[in-house]
């Protein structure tokens, strides 16, 4: 069976023919050759046109290598390919493809560089080009950084166009007419008095060269892009047939769960598992790093037995109090970075104010708990999991199985949310540790919510100190110092790399804010690594947007200026001005009116402005309405852009209101959604979104909707109550209905 056949049979099929087909997954070997990973193993009667288009007798399969985490990646990738290939995305099959460097993400590394996305200068362009090279040679087959659209926009359309023209060339040869006299339509090559479905042309493809460098269609000719898409997965997700990683069932599969020390590396002092081992359905209790795994015939039986293990864990960890102190001390310590240092903030004239802000650790907590299925044999290991970085997973697993990464096959499954969580792979390594102890048997590890919640890789805690001056009714000077652990250092440390140089994420969303002030300084202060931290939706901008836009609002209030007018005066970047003007117009802004707050943040190359309107009631503050305007360069699917921008904003608001992870020296104190609270429907304001596509580089919207949301809310609460919310969760200082 060739590659296309395997994909066809094993992929999660989407489309009319796929109802009830359930899940299936492609099998691929991870290989070093960054050529077309689809060509190896093609059976007679199958063809791979570019790494993104597979053909077999049943038709077309589009390869969408960026994982769908809920952000709509599968759908947008399919539409980009389909637009040039002339197929209906609802009628073809989709597959995530093998882990391969050919699917490297050329944009994601740029996010780690101190390049303001609005900067089109030489150094910035050079850095972005270097990111493409880094991505390629580092084999960064990664989903993240809101880069899917930016990275795929040209590449997938070009792949679709190349496949289309190659099919036409094949037909032209057979018909003896010029390729230019053929056209394509809905999966067929069409000529004056006939047509052929693409699949019929497969036998002819062997004799034609792949047509390269095909000019892309003008947007005015687009059929799908720019129009509201019907998401390829939305029907299956509405009727319950969509299959996630945790729904995978393989013959002879063992159900596993783990209990491990919340302090990684703390080890196990003592463990008594005899009661657990005797429970119904339990096959074994096995040791793994920092704890134990239960193997059973059913998830609940595994969970129940895991709870029955008497387990004393070792080690000592930090407390939240000690961590806050370390962060505050770091503000006065060495600088990690000062990418922005203009004028002289210390000597600036005017009335001086100062304020300190802080935000807690947060968990990604996607609703689907982490899970992974691994089958080990001495010859080869197969992994099924929802990961944003399949090549890294292959390497991690190979280290555990003692194999070469080439012997590890990673099948990427759809994720029940991520928010950055599935860049991590601890649970895949645990599943591998279990699998090597039961060779030949597939082991599906599902973390209990409690295990998942207490073993996070968190959004860092952060503390900021704002200082500034106002003069003559204007903001004159702004000095923001941010202290936090470095996400890059923590992540690199987990894969055994040192992180050198300043971490731009520490100050992201603040240092590159396009505000022109005579005196401005943004400094990052790195706190020593203790708690493992990770990329959490919008990363550094998730806290810096709050710090900068809240403190700027304090300065503007001190100056007696209008929050929108003064920001417009300061903004030095045209697209940013446009979104602020747009949101003011949407909300008919007429000052704070005792109920409204505004915030503007530029992150991931997308300027986003938001206005929140609140109301004080006897039960507390009610959020009535949120207006969002963003500039993404070009809107490919207005329906999904709206979902991503509003989802990001609400994710930000929900966590700002009531979420925190605290530490008591033994690990995290929150264990489930009762103690780690989350936004609920009754708290959700009405939302109006306007996504602008005024040209310029195309950008993704999964993250940039988040950073302005919390400060817009805090600034609205100030307008309504006179109270400044300077720390999260807000609910600690203010009653919300």
């Amino acid at each position: 069976m060739g590659t296309a056949g395997k994909i066809a049979r094993r992929t999660f099929l989407i489309g009319t023919a796929a109802i009830g087909a359930g899940v299936a997954f492609g099998i691929y070997a991870y290989r070093r050759d960054p050529g077309n990973p689809l060509t190896a193993g093609l059976a007679p009667g199958e063809a791979a046109l570019t790494p993104y288009v597979l053909l077999d007798a049943e038709g077309v399969t589009l390869i969408t290598p960026r994982i769908d985490l809920g952000q709509g990646a599968a759908s947008i990738q399919a539409h980009l390919l389909a637009e040039e290939l002339d197929v209906d995305p609802a009628k073809v099959r989709l597959a995530s493809g093998p882990a391969s460097p050919v699917y490297h993400n050329g944009s994601v590394a740029a996010e780690g560089m101190p390049l303001a996305a609005w900067d089109e200068g030489l150094i910035a362009r050079g850095g972005r080009a270097a990111s493409e090279v880094l991505g390629k040679f580092g084999g960064l087959h990664v989903t993240g950084g809101s880069t899917t659209v930016a990275d795929a926009y040209d590449r997938l359309r070009a792949a679709g166009a190349s496949a289309r023209e190659t099919l036409k060339a094949a037909a032209a040869t057979r018909l003896g007419i010029a390729r230019e006299d053929l056209r394509t339509e809905d999966g067929r090559v069409v000529w004056a008095d006939g047509s052929a479905p693409y699949a019929e042309l497969i036998p002819l493809l062997a004799d034609v060269e792949v047509v390269q460098d095909v000019p892309l269609r003008d947007p005015s000719a687009w059929r799908w892009l720019g129009q509201p898409h019907r998401r390829v997965d939305v029907a299956a997700k509405s009727v319950g047939t969509y299959r996630f990683g945790g729904d995978l069932v393989l013959p002879d599969m063992l159900h596993a769960t783990v209990v491990t020390n919340p302090l990684r590396g703390g080890g196990v002092v003592s463990m008594h598992a005899s009661e657990a081992e005797a429970m119904r359905g339990v096959e074994a209790v096995l040791p793994i790093t920092d704890g134990a795994a239960v193997l059973a015939d059913n998830d609940w039986r595994a969970f129940r037995a895991a709870r029955a293990i008497r387990f004393e864990s070792g080690g000592e960890g930090p407390t939240s109090d000690a961590l806050w102190k370390a962060h505050e001390a770091a503000l006065d310590g060495d600088r990690d970075s000062a990418f922005t240092d203009e004028g002289d903030v210390d000597a600036a004239p005017g009335t001086r104010i100062e304020a300190t802000y802080r935000v807690p650790f947060l968990h990604h907590a996607p609703l689907e708990p982490a899970n992974a299925t691994v089958r080990y044999t001495p010859e080869a290991t197969e992994v099924w999991t929802a990961t944003q970085a399949p090549i890294f997973v292959a390497r991690s697993v190979a280290r555990i199985t003692g194999q070469e990464a080439e012997q590890v096959t990673v099948n990427v499954l759809p994720a029940g949310g991520s928010f950055g969580h599935r860049l991590e792979d601890e649970w895949v390594r645990q599943a591998a540790e279990i699998a090597v102890q039961v060779p030949g048997r597939p082991v599906r590890l599902t973390l209990s919510r409690e295990q998942d919640m207490t073993h996070g890789f968190y959004r860092p805690m952060a503390v900021a100190r704002g200082r500034g001056t106002v003069e003559n009714g204007r903001v004159r000077a702004l000095d923001l110092a941010v202290a936090a652990q470095s996400v890059a250092e923590s992540q690199m440390g987990r894969v055994g790399f040192p992180a050198f140089g300043p971490d731009v994420a520490l100050v992201a969303g603040a240092w590159d804010a396009p505000y022109a002030l005579p005196d401005r300084r943004i400094t990052g202060h790195r706190v020593a690594a203790t708690v493992p931290v990770s990329s959490w939706r919008s990363v550094g901008a998730s806290h810096n947007g709050f710090f900068l836009e809240s403190f700027l609002d304090e300065l503007i209030a001190e100056a007696g200026a209008d929050p929108v007018e003064e920001r417009l005066r300061l903004i030095s970047h045209e697209p940013s001005r446009r979104v602020l003007e747009t949101v003011a117009e949407m909300a008919s802004w007429n000052g704070p009116e005792g109920k409204r707050g505004v915030a503007f943040v530029y992150s991931f190359g997308v300027p986003v402005a938001q206005i929140m309107e609140v109301r004080q009631t006897e039960a507390g503050i009610v959020m009535d309405k949120l207006w969002i305007a963003a500039e993404v360069g070009r809107v490919l699917d207005p329906v999904n852009i709206e979902a991503q921008l509003s989802g990001g904003a609400l994710f930000g608001i929900g966590h700002a209101l009531s979420s925190e992870i605290t530490f008591d020296g033994r690990g995290p104190e929150q264990t489930n959604f009762d103690s780690y609270e989350s936004l609920r429907l009754w708290q959700t304001p009405e939302i109006e979104v306007r996504a602008l596509g005024s040209g310029g580089p195309i950008r993704g919207a999964g993250e940039p909707g988040l950073p302005p949301a919390a400060p817009a809310l805090a600034n609205a609460v100030f307008a309504a109550t006179g109270t400044r919310l300077r720390r999260m969760p807000f609910a600690a200082d203010m009653r919300f209905a």
């Binding site: 109802i19 769908d68 985490l69 809920g70 952000q71 709509g72 019907r230 998401r231 997965d233 939305v234 029907a235 299956a236 997700k237 509405s238 009727v239 319950g240 047939t241 299959r243 996630f244 945790g246 729904d247 069932v249 159900h255 119904r280 015939d297 059913n298 998830d299 609940w300 039986r301 969970f303 996607p366 609703l367 689907e368 708990p369 029940g416 949310g417 991520s418 928010f419 599902t446 209990s448 919510r449 329906v639 999904n640 979902a643 509003s646 989802g647 609400l650 994710f651 929900g654 489930n672 959604f673 009762d674 989350s678 936004l679 609920r680 429907l681 009754w682 959700t684 009405e686 939302i687």
Partner: protein, 152 residues
Amino acid sequence: MRITVNGTDHEVDVEEDMPLLWLLRDELGIHGSKYGCGIGACGACTVHLDGLAVRACQVWSGDAAGAEVTTIEGLGTEAAPHPVQQAWIDLQVAQCGYCQPGQVMQAAALLAEVPDPTDRQIEDAMGGNLCRCATYPRIRAAIRRAAGSEGA
């Protein structure tokens, strides 16, 4: 024990206190209902028990025996969706989709009881269903649409 799921009778041999969720998922292979928290705090596991929306992670299999269990798969199909599912499809509610089987089941139970709910009734009924992707604006709109109040 005997249990009826989506109109089909099953004879199962499980512990009385095994929550219905895992009887469905791991014993019967019906995977639409999801595990999110196991403590009744997220609603991802919501099913109907004799028409009532319940958290399948909180109902013992022993107590579900003899009742009619309906899961998301029994509510409708892609070819013949329930009006709530149709509204969910039309408004493209789902992002990751993991919470949506529970949201749909909760909304369907609400509309069965209150065909044209007020905003307050929608908020009360849906308050236990967590969506980490925060699809709430569209959930609200889809319920209104399914209720016909937006001329669906």
